[in-house]
């Protein structure tokens, strides 16, 4: 134990953390394996090595478009829902006002309403509003379903916030908004990052609302779910998934390298979000 402790910060906990993350990656790490397998569906034993699924990717522009659309929708939805979430979470944790609970309940409602109902009704509303269906309307829908998640994460971030810091800022002449921007936000950065991650993740996998609210631009889940009729087409999805995974890691590594450089320059210890 003590030997371990000296080796890694956190002792057994770090072993657990690594194992747990490994658990998270277990199903995901099979994807690259199957993406170079000749069989159409993921299974063992492997039947043979091939690059053909990757080679086929450029010939399925719909799939690539769908992936791009998902990315755009995911980024926009996560940013917007985090912004809305920040406002609401802040109001709920900081102020006491009439109707606090019912309003909160309404905002959290998408968590418990059947998605298909939300989707159909939103479609009706959006058509009533005269909007035409596009990725934008998908974003609208995703923001709605992501807000509860953002809010949940953000409320635990705003909770127990030391008020005297905001008071100090107001005291120094900063407006409510300025205080929020210069003091509150930086201090809840971990919550904001978490909220972005959560809502991006939700949006990336959301299917029904995207289906109802999109016009002719499909998101990845719509495309994939629609294609399940053809087992033979699946490996392309596997290949793309693998590429996206690799891209995520590359981006992350670049970010980490940049951070270290910056850290070396400023000699300060801050997280990715500091």
């Amino acid at each position: 134990m003590s030997g371990l402790k000296r080796l890694v910060p956190g002792g057994w906990l770090s072993v657990y953390a690594v194992l747990y993350v490994a658990f998270l990656y277990v199903p995901v790490l099979f994807l690259p394996v199957f993406s170079v397998n000749t069989a159409a569906t993921p299974k063992f034993p492997l039947s043979g090595f091939t690059w053909k699924w990757y080679e086929g990717l450029p010939h399925t522009p719909e799939l690539l478009n769908a992936a791009w659309n998902s990315l755009v929708v995911g980024l926009s939805a996560s940013v917007l829902s985090t912004v809305f979430g920040i406002l609401a979470a802040r109001a709920i944790t900081r102020y006491r006002f009439p109707g606090r609970r019912p309003i909160n309940g309404l905002i959290m409602a998408p968590l418990v309403l059947p998605e298909i109902i939300v989707a159909i009704s939103m479609l009706l509303v959006i058509l009533q509003l005269g909007l035409s269906l596009s990725l934008f309307t998908v974003v609208l829908g995703h923001v709605l379903v992501c807000i509860p998640y953002s809010m949940t994460v953000l409320t635990s971030g705003f909770e127990g916030f030391d008020r005297s810091l905001e008071e100090a800022s107001a005291d120094l002449g900063e407006s409510a908004f300025g205080t929020f921007r210069r003091v509150t936000l930086p201090m809840v950065t971990p919550a904001i990052i978490s909220s972005l991650l959560v809502s991006f993740t939700i949006s990336l996998d959301e299917f029904i609302i995207a289906f109802f609210l999109t016009g002719t631009e499909a998101t990845l889940p719509i495309y994939i779910w629609g294609q399940l009729r053809f087992a033979a087409k699946l490996p392309g999805v596997l290949a793309l998934g693998t590429l996206l995974l690799v891209a995520s890691f590359v981006l992350l590594s670049i970010a980490e390298v940049l951070r270290r450089r910056a850290a070396r320059r400023t000699q300060s210890e801050g997280g990715l979000y500091a």
Binding site: L127, Q227, F230, A231
Partner: protein, 332 residues
Amino acid sequence: ADPKDLIVLDWSGYEDPLLHPAYTAKYGGEPSFSFFGDEDEAFEKVRAGFKADVGHPCSQSVVKWRDAGIIQPLDTSRIAGWADLNPDIMKMKDLATTADGKAWFMPFDWGNTSLLYRTDHVTTDEAKSLKIFADPKFEGRVTIGDNVDDAYALASLVIGLKDWTKMTDDQFRQASDFLRQVHKNVRFYWTDDTDLNQAVSSGEVDLVWGWNETFVTLKGQGVPIAMNRDTDEGLSTWVCGYVLLKDAPHPDQAYDFFSAVNAPEVSSYMVTTFGYGHGNAAGMTATDHTLLSERGFDNLDKFLDKTLFQQPVPPELKQRMVEEFEKIKAGY
């Protein structure tokens, strides 16, 4: 006209340009596709006001789509090769055409649902009858589709009913009872081809009430699998096709699209790449025979008397089936 004006509400995968080369040739580009993964969801989306020109439902939904008034009759004269459409499919009541002579639906892709089994665990003898699905020996080794139509097609065949539109209450009960028997053996209800493919090839199940496409793909991968279409009770045939949606903004392009997908040249590509039969019988006949036999489409006529065409059933009956099947699946 801009090729993109035409909006096709379709399953993804069908956007393949080789399924409508004539359209591409004429307009110099691809139509716009809007994808769906579930007919009922597509139905609700159109009902809620989504504007598209062409839809792609399957036989069992057509009636519902029609009754809901979201599709319009076809001017068959504007569709090239309408006369070549598979006559057996065209014969189905209330599907392509209604009693008043109006055409609503152009069959495009079709296939069989039949008994597939793993030869390493099931003998040919055992696989002679569809009753094998209820055989306690195969507890936990069976999968049938999470799909009312396929399920009741199976049950109807087992109780000896080929024209299920005429199902009596008593027959309905018998059919349901058989499904309850099957439920005891069911490992899971398959929802899509990919799902099924994975389960069979990984040895999860031995008996499948499934599609020829699965058989072909698995066989191709060297999975020890056989398909018996010549069971004592027979097999079932399903069909999907294109409809013209009500208030379609671009009917002209839509008709060109219909003609394009119905072109006989499409048949061989359809059979090869997708593993489904093509609606154009002429095209199918013209297709390489070895390919057809490889894909299990060689001798449809041979089993004509043994097939249960999944023609539309009356809505009330459909409703009962749905409700009953939901209960059966949940174990009641």
